[in-house]
Amino acid sequence: MANNAEDIENNMQNQQQSNGSPEPAQQPQEAGVTRVRSRGGSGAEGGGGGGGGRGGSGGGNGSGPEQNGQPPAARAPRVVETEEDEDEELTLKYGAKHVIMLFVPVTLCMVVVVATIKSVSFYTQNDGQRLIYTPFPEDTDTVAQRALNSILNATIMITVIIVMTLVLVLLYKYRCYKVIQGWLFLSSLLLLFFFSYIYLKEVFKTYNVAMDYFTLAVIIWNFGVVGMMCIHWKGPLRLQQAYLIMISALMALVFIKYLPEWTAWLILAVISVYDLLAVLCPKGPLRILVETAQERNEPIFPALIYSSTMVWLVNMADTDRPKRNSTEAASPQQETQQAVASPAPSSPSQDDGGFTPSWVSQQEHQLGPLQTTEETRREIQQLPSARPPVEDDDEERGVKLGLGDFIFYSMLVGKASAAASGDWNTTLACFVAILIGLCLTLLLLAIFKKALPALPISIFFGLVFYFATDNLVRPFMDKLALHQFYI
């Protein structure tokens, strides 16, 4: 990870991803599907549309190059020989913290989806409605017919997604930014108002609560407008993260409801493969998008990427890079904190940047006393920087994951909890599988330092665990319980 600021800024380009939100059959809409790479897709999935949701874009888990590890770059010449080792260590240190920082939102999203699936029956009912993108029904007479239908559905869906991605890349290449922004705006509008309206309605029905139009209007209006402000404009970071998680969950729920069984699993598998190809192949659309954005040195629509911000201030004074401490809890310590020297005081409100005391003291041993005090930080901030600081800087310096990834992970776990006969075993197994996949992906990211698809590994593990648990583990556990045999 030793990515430098340049990389981070370069990597802002994530591919945009707008997923078409699946539309209930009554309202065909355009599915905007853009993939966001590396940073994540966005939820814009809302864009109507069918299922395209892609979120997939597994975009390289955001973290990719965006990992923010500011490696101690300008080191005094005397420690050059240890630079390699320290870079490695930093890489892994940052990687570990980033993984954990992503666990929480991914887990939250999945929890919301599973909780809804379990309690609100609407999302598991088969109303016979389908998305226009999956026209073939799955309640057919023969298994062969069903298999064929699901393959056709998946093919249609993936074609839609490919087309949308290409459209997006073209739009981006020809600088039609307004179109893309408008598209994303409409998608998030749809998600925040319409889908949350449906969600609320179903929740009230489930809990048998009376609700009047006036209160409902106030709630939806507030939720929607504040959501739009937080996502597309400025708002508190936590609130923005919460909104992104909520819209990902909403999108995943829509997918779970409107995609028939076999189609859903097939789509997950195919999308992972597509993600892999689109991001890693030289001619892949997402890769082209990332490279174009890097060439132009522009950030891509940060509105639809989940980011948690953490900036690591490692060394200072002689670097020309702007370093900022953007830990949320940093404020109370303007006056006081003398961090670091020997064991870094990790006062509860101070983020020690992931440096454990032992690491810091080792660092200090090699480099001389390391001071990341507020004063020095401020000094650094005032240093002229080689690269003008991007104004949404804190967006770029955190770990980023595409919203599409959230959506597909949650969709997998939600489907597992909805459909599996093994119930909680299967759900938990899928959950663990996805988290493991995420860890591995982030590890690869730290090693390769370029945009990587976040979907393939996790989805692959998730699918394997789902089918294995459902078909092998569950009967086994049942038999054991039946015979009162505890292992």
Partner: protein
């Protein structure tokens, strides 16, 4: 968005926009304003714009309380009397619970 990194004028401007936005039937926006700028307004050591930010935060809190009072009253009335209002009650209802009221 991290408030720490903004210059004070921008903080004031943001607070002001949130305050004004809340007048469009958005008590949630006022709530966000209060929570987000609370520390800025009351905990931080004084700076020039802080007085104005304090005013905005206080007014947002006031507006929020007002809205909460109104909404609570209305919800209480509605939930209590909904069944008795007959048709009007149904007309006002978005979801109607099943069973005997």
């Amino acid at each position: 968005m991290n408030l720490e990194r903004l210059p004070n004028e921008e903080k004031l401007s943001l607070c002001r926009k949130y305050y004004l936005g809340g007048f469009a039937f958005l008590p949630f926006l006022w709530l966000v304003n209060v929570v987000w700028f609370f520390r800025e307004a009351f905990v931080k050591p004084a700076y020039t714009e802080q007085l104005q930010i304090k005013t905005y935060v206080k007014r947002s809190a006031l507006g929020l309380l007002l809205w909460v009072a109104v909404l609570t009253t209305w919800i209480t009335i509605f939930q209590h009397f909904r069944a008795e209002w007959g048709e009007v009650g149904d007309y006002l209802s978005f979801t109607i619970p099943l069973g005997i009221p």
